[in-house]
Amino acid sequence: MSLIDISGNLLFVAFIAYLVATLLFGGSIKQANATGNNTGKWGQLAIVVTIIGFLSQLGYFITRWIYTGHAPVSNMFEFTTAFGMFIVGAFILIYFIYRLTALGLVALPVALLIIAYASMFPKEVSPLVPSLQSYWLTIHVITAALGQSILAISAVAGLIYLLKAVDLTKPSKQRFWLEAVMYCLVIVIGFVTVTSTFGAMDYESSYNYVDKEGTTRKIIYNLPPIFGMNEYEVVEEHGMSPLVEMPALINAKKLTTVAWSLLVGSVLYLLIRLIARRRISAIFQPLVKRVNLQLLDEIGYRSVLIGFPVFSLGALIFAMIWAQIAWSRFWGWDPKEVWALITWLFYAAFLHLRLSKGWEGQKSAWLALIGFGIILFNLIAVNLILAGLHSYA
C-alpha cells in the first residue's frame, strides 16, 4: 500500500470516528438529561473517539504532506478537509476548557459535512505552481484555517444557544431563520448525496460551448445537465438534455450542481419534516434543553476572542507578508483578500458590539452564525464563483 492510499484510509477512519462520536455525544446528552451529570461515561467515550478520529485525520494530513512534499492545503479538497480537521481540533480545545458535551453534538456534524463536501472535489495530488512554492504556503494557510476554525466554534455555540433559546411554539423571525440555517445544512447533505451518487455511477455528459470571449471549449458534466452552457452542442449525452440554455456569463455546469443540490436537499428536508412532523430545530431542541445559556454565550464569545488574533495573524498579516514576496505587493484587492478583510471587519464589529452595546445572548449568537456564513462564503463562493488569484480549485 502506498503512502497516498494509507493517507486516504486514515481520512476514512477519521470520518467514521467523527460519525460514531456524534452518536455518542447524543447518548451522553440523553444520559445527562437522566442523571444531571454533564460528562458521564458516554461523554468520556465520545471525546475519546473524537480524539482518535482527530489523530487519524492528523495522520492523513502528515502522510499526504510527506507524499506530496508540500503542506496539503493547496487545492479545494485539501484545504477544506484541513478546515474540517481544525474545527474538530478547535472543538477539542474548547471542550477541555468548558467540558460541554452538547458542543460536540453540533461541532462534529458540521465538521463531517465540511469533510464530506471537501471529498466531492478532485483528490488527485497536483504539483504546485511557482507562486505557491514557498514555506509561506504552510504558514499562511494553516494559521488562517486555524483562526477560521476557532471562529467557527462560536457559530456552533451560537446555534446551540438559539436551538435552546428560540421559542419554537409560536411563529417568529427567529424561528424562521433558525429553521433556514437547518435547511442549509440539509442542502449540503443534498449536494453530497447527489454528487457521490452520480460519481459512483461514473456519470459523464460532454458538450462543446462558446465562452464569453467567444472561444469554443469543451465541458464535461458529472451530473445530468439541467442548464446548458452558452450555444452548447452535444458531444456525448446520457440520461437527459439540458432544459434551459444559459448566457455565456453563467457557468451552467456549476448552476446545474447548485440546482441538483437544492432539489435533492429540499426533497430530503420535506421527507424529514413529513416523517418527524416537526421542524428540524424542534427535533434538536430537546437534546439541548439542559445546557446553560450563560455558559454557551461565554463559549461563543471566548472562541471569537481566541480565534480573532489567530485569524488576523494568518489571514491578514502572514497573507500580506507572502503577497509582498510572491506578488510584489502586500495588498492587491483580490476577492479572497477582500473577503478576508470583510471577515476581519465583521468580527471586529462583533467584538465592539458586544463590548460597548451589550449585544449578548441571542444577538451575539446570530452574529456568530453570520460570521461563519461569511467564512464559508469566502471558502466556497470566492473560490468557485468570483475569479481571482486564489481560484486554485
Binding site: L249, V338, H352, L355, L386, G388
Partner: protein, 558 residues
C-alpha cells in the same frame, strides 16, 4: 467646569461617575443602577461630558462606538460590492476600452457597474474617505476613553465605599468566624499564590491581576493607526516606487525607477512539471503545470561620478536568479519575476534576390531592436531601410504606423540598390504578406531567410520604504489584540467592617467563568461568605419570560 466633591471629601473632575477615591456613585443614574458601569471605571469621559461647541460635537461623533461600528459595517459592505466583478486593474483592456469591456462581457449590469465607478471602487474618493473616517474614529475613541481609563486604573485606592462594592456584578456579604486579620492574611496568601498582586490598606484588601489587558484594545488601535499612516505615506514621492520593465535576453538596460542601476538578462528559464495530466487537469484540458519562472540576471551599477545614461564602465553588483517567491533585493529595492514572453523576434534575415532568376545577391541580418540604416552587400548592391515599424498596424495617410515599439509584427520599407537598378527599387515588406511595391513593378525583392528569437522577462521594480512602518504597525496591533484577548483584568475587593461584617466584590472585564473559579478557590481557602452574581440572578428571573439574555450595558469592559 466645577469639580464634584464626593461625600468622602475627594474632589473629582466634572463628569466623573464613580468617585475616584472611594467609588461612591456620583450621578443620579449610577445611584439608580444595581450594577454600575465599570467599562471605564466610572471616570469622566470627554465625549460623555461635553456637548456644547462644534468641536465637542465632532469629537463626540467620532468617539461614539455606534458611529465606529457603523463605519466598519459600511466599509465592509462597500468592500464586498467591489468583488462582484473583477476590478479594472485585473482586466486586460486599455483604459479607453474598459467601459466597452464591462458592457461586452457583463452586459447591462457590467455597464452600470462601470458607470457608477464600482469597477475601481477601492481607489474611489468616497471609499478612501470612509477608511479615513474609520481612522479618525479609532484615534478619537481611543483618546477619549484610553487616557481616563489609564489614569483611573493607575490611581486605584484599595479602600472603596460600601455603595461601590454593592454595585459590582459579583458581591458577597457575611460574618467570618475567624478574626479579621487572619482572614485577610489568608486571602492575601491565596490570591498571591494565584498570581494576583495584593495591596492592603488597614482592613481593606485589593487583589488584582492582568491589568495590562485593559490596555490591549488601545495598543492594537495604535498599531492600526501606524499601519494606516504607513499606507498614507506611500503617497509621498520617493517612499514608493512601482515600475515594470521588459528585459530581453542578452540585453542590458537601465532599471526604471532605480537610478544608476542596470540589469542584464542572461537567460529566461521556463520549467514545467513533467507529471502526467490527471483527472481534473484532463477535464480542463491543461496538461502542463508550470514549475519555475526564472530570469538569470546580472545587476550593474554606474560608478558614482558617471553621467546618467552612460553605460560604459558599469560595475557589476551581483549575479542572481530571480524567481517567483525569490525576488532580488538590493539597496531597498526589490526586483520580481512577474511576467514573460517567449520567442520574441530578435533578428530577421533577408536575401536580396532577383525575382526571375531567384539568384541571391547577398544576405542581410537586421537587429530588430537596433536596425542599421544601410546594409552594404558588396558588389555594388546595398539595401537601405527607409522606414521600420516594429509592430505594424496599417497605413495612415500613406505612412505605415506602429502600435508599439515591440517587434511583434515588424514591417520594413526597403530601398534595394543593385548594379542593375542603380536608381533603387522600393518595397514594403511585412511578415507573411506579399511585398507591396508602391512605385511600380520591381526586379528584385527581399526574401525572408529566417529569424532569431529570444525570450523576454517582465520584471517589476519595487521600493517600499513604508514596509518597516507597516510591519511595526502590524506587530503592535498583534501584541495589542493578543493581550486584550488572551488575558483579562480581574479584581477582588475585600473589606472587613468594624462590626465583623465581611464585604466582598469582584470585577472582571471578560471571562467571568475563570474569575468564578478563582473566587471559589479563595472562598474555600479563607472561609469567605458565599458570593452571588447579580446579573445571573436578574436573568434567572427574566429567563422565564423571554428565554434569553436581554440587551444590557456595562457587563463587559473594553
Amino acid at each position: 467646569m466645577e469639580k464634584i466633591i464626593c461625600a468622602c471629601g475627594h474632589s473629582n473632575p466634572y463628569g466623573t461617575k464613580l468617585c475616584e477615591k472611594c467609588g461612591r456613585p456620583l450621578t443620579e443614574e449610577e445611584k439608580q443602577n444595581k450594577v454600575v458601569d465599570m467599562r471605564y471605571d466610572g471616570t469622566a469621559i470627554r465625549s460623555k461630558t461635553y456637548n456644547k461647541s462644534i468641536i465637542d460635537k465632532i469629537w463626540n461623533f467620532f468617539s461614539s462606538v455606534k458611529v465606529g461600528i457603523s463605519l466598519i459595517i459600511i466599509t465592509l459592505i462597500a468592500a464586498s460590492i467591489g468583488t462582484l466583478l473583477p476590478q479594472e486593474f485585473y482586466v486586460k483592456a486599455s483604459d479607453i476600452e474598459k467601459g466597452a469591456y464591462y458592457a461586452d462581457v457583463y452586459g447591462t449590469f457590467g455597464k452600470i457597474y462601470y458607470t457608477l465607478g464600482l469597477s475601481d471602487l477601492y481607489s474611489s474618493w468616497w471609499f478612501q474617505i470612509l477608511v479615513g473616517m474609520l481612522a479618525v474614529s479609532i484615534i478619537v475613541a481611543s483618546l477619549d476613553r484610553g487616557i481616563p481609563l489609564y489614569k483611573s486604573l493607575k490611581n486605584q485606592r484599595v479602600k472603596r465605599h460600601e455603595s461601590f462594592m454593592k454595585r459590582q456584578r459579583i458581591v458577597g456579604e457575611g460574618q467570618v468566624t475567624a478574626n479579621a486579620e487572619e482572614t485577610l492574611d489568608k486571602v492575601a496568601k491565596k490570591m498571591t499564590e494565584m498570581r494576583y498582586s495584593v495591596r492592603r490598606d488597614g482592613s481593606a484588601l485589593l487583589a488584582e491581576k492582568g491589568r495590562f489587558s485593559r490596555y490591549g484594545p488601545y495598543i492594537n488601535h495604535v498599531g492600526l493607526i501606524i499601519f494606516l499612516g504607513g499606507v498614507m505615506l506611500r503617497l509621498v514621492p520617493g517612499f514608493y516606487v512601482d515600475e515594470s520593465i521588459w528585459v530581453r535576453e542578452g540585453e542590458t538596460r537601465a532599471i526604471t525607477g532605480m537610478d544608476g542601476y542596470f540589469i542584464e538578462n542572461k537567460d529566461f528559464v521556463l520549467e514545467t512539471h513533467d507529471n502526467e495530466a490527471q483527472g481534473e487537469q484532463i477535464k480542463q484540458g491543461v496538461n502542463v503545470v508550470a514549475k519555475n519562472f526564472q530570469t538569470d540576471i546580472t545587476l550593474y551599477k554606474q560608478p558614482k561620478d558617471a553621467i546618467p545614461g552612460d553605460t560604459e564602465n558599469l560595475e557589476k553588483v551581483k549575479d542572481y536568479s530571480i524567481r517567483v517567491n525569490h525576488p532580488l533585493k538590493e539597496d531597498g529595492f526589490a526586483l520580481y519575476q512577474m511576467d514573460y514572453r517567449l520567442n520574441e523576434l530578435k533578428k530577421m534575415k533577408f536575401d536580396l534576390i532577383n525575382k526571375e532568376s531567384e539568384k541571391s545577391l547577398g544576405t542581410l541580418e537586421i537587429d530588430l531592436t537596433n536596425p542599421k540604416k544601410d546594409y552594404d552587400l558588396g558588389n555594388g548592391s546595398s539595401v537601405q531601410i527607409l522606414v521600420y515599424t516594429p509592430d505594424f498596424d496599417g497605413f495612415e495617410n500613406g505612412e505605415p504606423q506602429t502600435k508599439t515599439s515591440i517587434p511583434n509584427n515588424p514591417a520594413f520599407l526597403f530601398k534595394m540598390t543593385t548594379p542593375e537598378t542603380p536608381e533603387g527599387e522600393v518595397s514594403f515588406v511585412e511578415i507573411m504578406q506579399p511585398p507591396l511595391e508602391p512605385l511600380g513593378e520591381n526586379q528584385y525583392r527581399m526574401k525572408f531567410a529566417g529569424a532569431e528569437m529570444r525570450d523576454m522577462s517582465g520584471i517589476t521594480v519595487r521600493k517600499d520604504t513604508t514596509i518597516p512602518l507597516l510591519f511595526v504597525g502590524g506587530v503592535i496591533f498583534m501584541i495589542g489584540v493578543v493581550i486584550g484577548s488572551y488575558w483579562n483584568h480581574r479584581r477582588l475587593w475585600l473589606q472587613i467592617e468594624p462590626d465583623g461584617r465581611v464585604l466582598m466584590a469582584a470585577h472582571v472585564n471578560k471571562n467571568m467563568f475563570s474569575m468564578k473559579k478563582d473566587l471559589d478557590a479563595v472562598s474555600a481557602f479563607a472561609a469567605l461568605p458565599p458570593y452571588e452574581d447579580q446579573l445571573e440572578k436578574e436573568e434567572a428571573g427574566e429567563e422565564s419570560t423571554d428565554g434569553g439574555i436581554n440587551e444590557k450595558e456595562g457587563d463587559n469592559t473594553l
